[in-house]
């Protein structure tokens, strides 16, 4: 693991809510290497965004990191001062957000916004930043860079704005790019373009990418490794091949059963019953047990550790072997019942082999 770019170990994040606490991340560990794409998937509220934002020092409100380490280039990001983090953010770690509509400053020309990061990090001179901006606009697929340089964000469509955000994020040639639901707010056709663009940029600079998404299709399209989070814990971590062929956690299987593909009829879907709830105390048993159709007594009493199940394949489930054994036969049916009207999980939308459709 020596060549990992970012290595997060045993991360804990808590939020204060009135008198009580909400345990958002409970000992999550993950890492990403140069040129690698790590996908973090999970339902809303599973702690996937929070875990990454906390590493970047971007937690809002009452959020607080209460434990763990996040090593990046030999430094623990969680122990850095605000100034030091500001230096790293935008220069060594770029970031893209979900909603390009509201992430750009409406009062600033997009060219100036792209240049800004380079100038504040003293990446190049003003002249150099201008030229690099034109080059970036070209790279992210915005034609007529010189004219577009002077446009304001409201003159751009959502996809174009996301391209601008990407240009801003990669302006200083970061080693790591964090993309927090980068395609969720976009049309499916644009989604694919953006994903292809990210891939191209990654190949150019051997950039590591962390892709946070709730869209399995997106994740399986571009990621080398996928981790599934639930209740702030890593449920399963697997290379793409294993993830596709041998999912070993009932939650993973359930999520995959909830995916809607083109032509899927409602009765073919397998929704996970219930929904993810906020933890008001640290988990002592398997947090998924109450929604899991395979839950045994042991699952309600003992916290399953993240244990290896194959080369690079880790899973946190007491009954993973049984899930594996049943794979391909009836696990889907066991994990979730057929959909009535209400879909419990919020997982939906699928990109299959670049062909996309939205429910």
């Amino acid at each position: 693991m020596a060549d990992e770019l970012l290595s997060v170990e045993d991360l804990h994040v808590e939020f204060e809510r009135g008198d009580s606490k909400v345990y958002a991340v409970n000992g999550a560990s993950f890492s990403v290497g140069p040129g690698e794409t790590l996908g973090i998937v999970g339902e809303s509220g599973s702690g996937k965004s929070v875990s990454v934002l906390s590493v970047m020092g971007l937690l809002r409100g009452s959020g607080q990191v209460t434990g763990g380490t996040a090593m990046f280039m030999g430094k623990d990001l969680l122990k850095l001062r605000r100034r030091q983090l500001e230096d790293i953010r935008g220069r060594d770690i770029g970031m893209i957000f979900q909603d390009p509509m509201s992430s750009l400053n409406p009062t600033m020309r997009i060219g100036d916004q792209i240049m800004e990061g380079m100038l504040s990090h003293q990446y190049t001179s003003r002249k150099g930043a201008f030229n690099r901006t034109l080059q970036l606009l070209d790279e992210v697929g915005i034609p007529e860079g010189k004219a577009r340089f002077r446009s304001y964000p409201h003159e751009f469509s959502g996809g174009m704005r996301q391209r601008v955000m990407i240009a801003m994020a990669v302006a200083c040639e970061p080693q790591l790019l964090i993309a927090d639901e980068p395609t969720t707010a976009l049309d499916v056709t644009v989604q694919t373009q953006i994903l292809v663009l990210l891939r191209q940029l990654q190949l150019k600079g051997r950039m590591g990418i962390i892709l946070i998404t709730h869209d399995f299709g997106v994740a399986t399209n571009v990621c080398d490794r996928i981790i599934v989070m639930y209740a702030g814990k890593v449920m399963e971590s697997a290379p793409l091949v294993d993830f596709l062929a041998r999912p070993a956690h009932p939650y993973t299987v359930g999520l995959k059963g909830s995916v809607i593909e083109v032509g899927t009829k409602a009765h073919q879907l397998r929704a996970i019953p219930g929904m993810a709830t906020a933890l008001t105390e640290p988990p002592r048993a398997c947090p998924f047990a109450e929604r899991c159709q395979l839950a045994a007594d042991r699952c309600l009493e003992e916290l399953p550790p993240l244990r290896p199940l194959g080369l690079g394949h880790y899973v946190a489930c007491h009954r993973a072997e049984e899930v594996l054994a049943a794979a391909g036969t009836t696990v889907g049916a066991q994990v979730g019942g057929p959909v009535g009207g209400q879909v419990g999980g919020q997982v939906g939308g699928q990109v299959a082999q670049g062909v996309t459709a939205r429910a």
């Binding site: 935008g90 770029g94 009062t107 697929g141 034609p143 007529e144 446009s151």
Partner: protein, 313 residues
């Protein structure tokens, strides 16, 4: 690897650069009273700037031969008990009023915006202290504080400017803080932070430009308030020290013998009223044009007996 196709082809018309101001002007134009108000304000500003050069006499020039002269060709606005030409007095008053009210408003604005931005963005103790100060300022009538400051500092142009400007910061601070709180946890600021922007940078390049419209409206509403405060100081005898002319001085003195020499009241009071109303109409028009979604659009004008969009009832 697929080629990334562009969402826009070549030959796209890049919209005109100042489209936002153009749109704002179009909205502003719909309000006829606001346009008339802007014209009056423009005349007022021009007269105030060139007034001292075109005034027939110096403001301090007494001429006892023509004391209490009614309006005539030589003295269009008449003269007062010391034989001051009232037209010249009015022109000089405009100059003083412009200096003091614009200066005071900018001062309030500068203090208020700085504190509001800082408190709103910083949060915590700094924010709490600033907001308690704001509460304190709102609890005490601004006019009262101005009175104290005038007594402490004197009655020439600069002290009065400071006396009006310093107590006025609280409303700017409160407004800016509110707007900043709305943006502080928004995606724009989060993205800026993700790109490594420092707090000062976020305040300067992200927050300030995004509150500037509201600030412009607030200044436009603040100037007529400062005008009334300035006149009010004169009425209680603590305005600009005569012979420095001001509308408040003229109106206060004319009140002493309004039946005998009514022109001393008519001209200054009418002009003062027109200026005040013009500013209010302009402010209302700006409110509608720049913050079309703001909720109290037109409320202030209605308080003065006018309907929304400047229609009379």
């Amino acid at each position: 690897m697929a080629v990334v196709s562009a969402t826009v082809g070549p030959g796209v018309r890049v919209p005109r650069r100042h489209a936002q101001w153009w749109l704002a002007w179009r909205r502003y134009k719909r309000n006829k009273l606001a346009v008339a108000g802007a014209a009056c304000v423009a005349v007022y500003l021009v007269l105030g700037l060139i007034g001292p050069w075109v005034a027939p006499q110096n403001y301090a020039q007494a001429n006892f031969l023509y004391a209490n002269h009614p309006p005539s060709l030589r003295f269009p606005f008449g003269t007062d008990g010391l034989g001051h030409d009232m037209l010249s007095q009015v022109l000089w008053s405009m100059r003083n009023a412009i200096e003091i009210t614009f200066g005071a408003s900018l001062l309030s604005f500068a203090i208020g915006v700085t504190l509001g931005l800082w408190g709103g963005l910083r949060g915590g103790v700094a924010d709490m202290v600033i907001m308690r100060l704001v509460d304190f300022m709102f609890a005490i009538p601004q006019f009262f504080l101005s009175l104290f400051l005038v007594v402490a500092m004197g009655r020439t142009v600069w002290p009065i400017l400071l006396a009006i400007g310093i107590p006025g910061w609280a409303q700017y601070a409160r407004l800016v803080r509110g707007l900043v709180l709305g943006m502080r946890n928004g995606e724009m600021v989060e993205a800026a932070r993700a790109f490594g922007a420092s707090r000062a940078h976020i305040a300067r390049r992200y927050l300030l430009p995004n509150v500037s419209n509201s600030m412009l409206v607030q200044i436009a509403f603040g100037i007529p308030v400062d005008l009334t405060v300035m006149a009010g100081l004169s009425v209680v005898g603590l305005g600009l020290r005569p012979p420095l002319p001001s509308f408040g001085n003229m109106i206060a003195q004319a009140g002493a013998n309004v039946l005998g020499y009514p022109w001393l009241m008519y001209f200054p009071a009418a002009i003062f009223a027109v200026i005040l109303l013009s500013f209010l109409f302009v402010a209302d028009g700006l409110q509608e044009a720049l913050n079309p979604r703001a909720e109290d659009g037109g409320r202030r004008a209605r308080r003065f007996g006018f309907g929304a969009r400047g229609r009379l009832f």
